[in-house]
Symmetry: C2
Amino acid sequence: MKNTQIKRYQQLAEELAEGIQAGVLRPGERLPSVRQTCVQRGMSPSTVFQAYGQLESRGLVEARARSGFYVRAGRRAPRAVPQAAQPRDEATPVAVSELVYALLDSTRDTDVIPLGSAFPASHLFPFDALARSGARAMRRLPATRITGALTAGDEGLRQALRRRYALHGVPMAENEPIITNGAMEALNLCLQAVTKPGDLVVVESPTFYAALHALERLHLNAVEVATDPRDGVDVDALGELLSRQKVAACWFMPSFQNPLGALMPPARKQALVELLAHHRVPLIEDDVYGELHAGARRPPPAKAFDRDGWVLHCSSFSKCLAPGYRVGWAAAGRFAPTVERLKMMSSLATALPPQLAVAEYLAQGGYDRHLRGLREALAAQQQRALRLVERHFPTGTRVTRPLGGYFLWLELPPPVDALALHHRAREHAISTAPGVLFSADRRFTHHLRLNVGHPGDARFDGALRRLGELAQGV
Amino acid sequence: MKNTQIKRYQQLAEELAEGIQAGVLRPGERLPSVRQTCVQRGMSPSTVFQAYGQLESRGLVEARARSGFYVRAGRRAPRAVPQAAQPRDEATPVAVSELVYALLDSTRDTDVIPLGSAFPASHLFPFDALARSGARAMRRLPATRITGALTAGDEGLRQALRRRYALHGVPMAENEPIITNGAMEALNLCLQAVTKPGDLVVVESPTFYAALHALERLHLNAVEVATDPRDGVDVDALGELLSRQKVAACWFMPSFQNPLGALMPPARKQALVELLAHHRVPLIEDDVYGELHAGARRPPPAKAFDRDGWVLHCSSFSKCLAPGYRVGWAAAGRFAPTVERLKMMSSLATALPPQLAVAEYLAQGGYDRHLRGLREALAAQQQRALRLVERHFPTGTRVTRPLGGYFLWLELPPPVDALALHHRAREHAISTAPGVLFSADRRFTHHLRLNVGHPGDARFDGALRRLGELAQGV
């Protein structure tokens, strides 16, 4: 991507977004046609398409087949969205408490309806096809390739990933990606590659608890940065933070953040990457939900804007294709050699059978079809869950409407304590992920993350309704 | 195991061992029959069997079918065995150099005959049967079990391991073992569970380089303890060290140590475990070669003597059944809950397909037959390799004769620099593992670890001969 081009489509998208937000362009209204805009603005069709595509991925407009782009109806008024947190601008040594472990454990009990779980429903994944692919690939593989399993991972799988990223405009170097034991290992290795004990790491507010775990394990301190429930990290606030404090790294989830579901618009991602490159601060990018976009196009990861190698991009197949297979990767830019060494030191290599199963499955060509079905199912279920929340939760409940992933983030009206609700719900065999899990200093006491990744499961719908009723009573 | 019983068979074994070493019992001579000894000593047959079995696992006697136990012929005179190192009794911050990485990389080049590699020949492993087992198990597994993959590992595999250990007299608790991404991850998790940055860890001298890597990664300091090439860690020397310095942990390989091949006799293991329990110092036990004994019985791991949970026992299937599958485990005693949490924090769970493939293979019942064949092949090849070393290496070369595993450790006569030899050998497309890899302070400059795990491969025999000739000329 050339820089001038980004700026032109970006400028157009921002202009239109402002028009929509100010009410100049109203819900249901059609945007000027691409041809019209080309003529008016003296732009190429591809620039205009990029701008419209970005508006679409931000959920502001929708494409209708053979008709054009329309301002989306039913965008919620801002008052119903949870408020952005005002994090304390202080380093916090991370210590995930016994309570947090107990809560996590409770989400694993199989007799419990796991509204607190981090994984979508198992029926969404092509396990039979993966098992067949795995068997075929393993039988075909020469034994010497098995004993010689390499730290960086199976070369066929790495090539397939490079090709796939290239199609999305993200070039990868020859030493990227390193295949890891899920994204979790990738993130941990990347974090270790760029920090030493006692360092300060910036995280979102709220933060995915695994980031807090990783910081704790490596004896690091966390500082939270303001994070908008819709647009993600506040880059200006981050800039101020960086000018005042010595920071070793940022650990962010720029697309469909866990737990908020926030999606940083491309311009924000670009500004983030440029800010961090300027300060020479590495960005650890957790992109595990990137493929689960509700809009038509995959949002670009921050790595798409990385020119100097400061982005350590991590992802996996665990949320979009093969849970339990633990096939993840790190494309760590200038830190790729360091990450490969750390991988060798800490777990030598990633198991070969799951890598080959996934590589073979990708080679068969069914992945994009699977993803389309998965995205549709998740988006439909989100709508259904939102209606249940509106109907059954207490008045004053705020809820996110993420443009991808399968989490809702609820802000309950102040009298409702989310931890008390969690315990009540457990008595009804329902797990939740209360907000205290998502902050080093136990804020978000009346917040809740709900897993809505279980389409077509009446038990989940029932549990959601019941949870709302319990919240009325807590 | 009851304590008094251990002591009685132990006492008998030591007495007989002394007799053998002093020449009272000569090579080829038959030990008194079990019945005879029972009567003479007033011992139960099982006690006498235990004593004889221990002598056998130490390589001092051999069992002949329907005949009895005989003092082994051909035990080498001590002069030909490499000398025990005299480690400096100082903490060394661990920094594995660029050189070491370059050396490791060179052992991975597939065009090179890998005398420096850490893995045996791929034809020794039942990859086809494993692939079939894996496919069968994955197709049978309910999808919910796949998405719900647990941090501790597949329960079926864990049960199979518990049963197997119990058969060898090693009880495991319900929260043991934790399945890991190979033994490497198990060892790293255990090390992290019992240390914090800056701590001091005792390692053998020489040490497996992965231990040095792990220490480096976790910002730990190493102190080496005297290690006999045949009998392993000098427990008295360790006792002195512990009385003078504050030590956070020991990382040892009590059976078939890498690179020495040393096997600590059971009494030494027991003394080690008791010493460490007394000092409340955890022992991280790397037992990956335990199944590859040349004698008739598996040597007991240190964990067999652990009454207070200070032993963190780690092993895997990577060297004895399924390289590339990365199925390892940690049975971490009193630290099991900590290790499970660290596993959750750092890589969430181990990939399920390889776990199920191994579990299904074990359930089919072919594992012990496979192991017998593997052991015989490795023992025969060791004999062959020893003859080649004797014939082709310079006069004055000392070499170990391990009772298991597939490494030889060579001490070349002082003028021969092992690193220079390594570089010469690389020009002839032969890799070696020079001694400097195995110490934090780059000692063992004229030592060499050779992989002799490639039975029936004329290329390996040729490479060994060539290496000896090169050593003559360096």
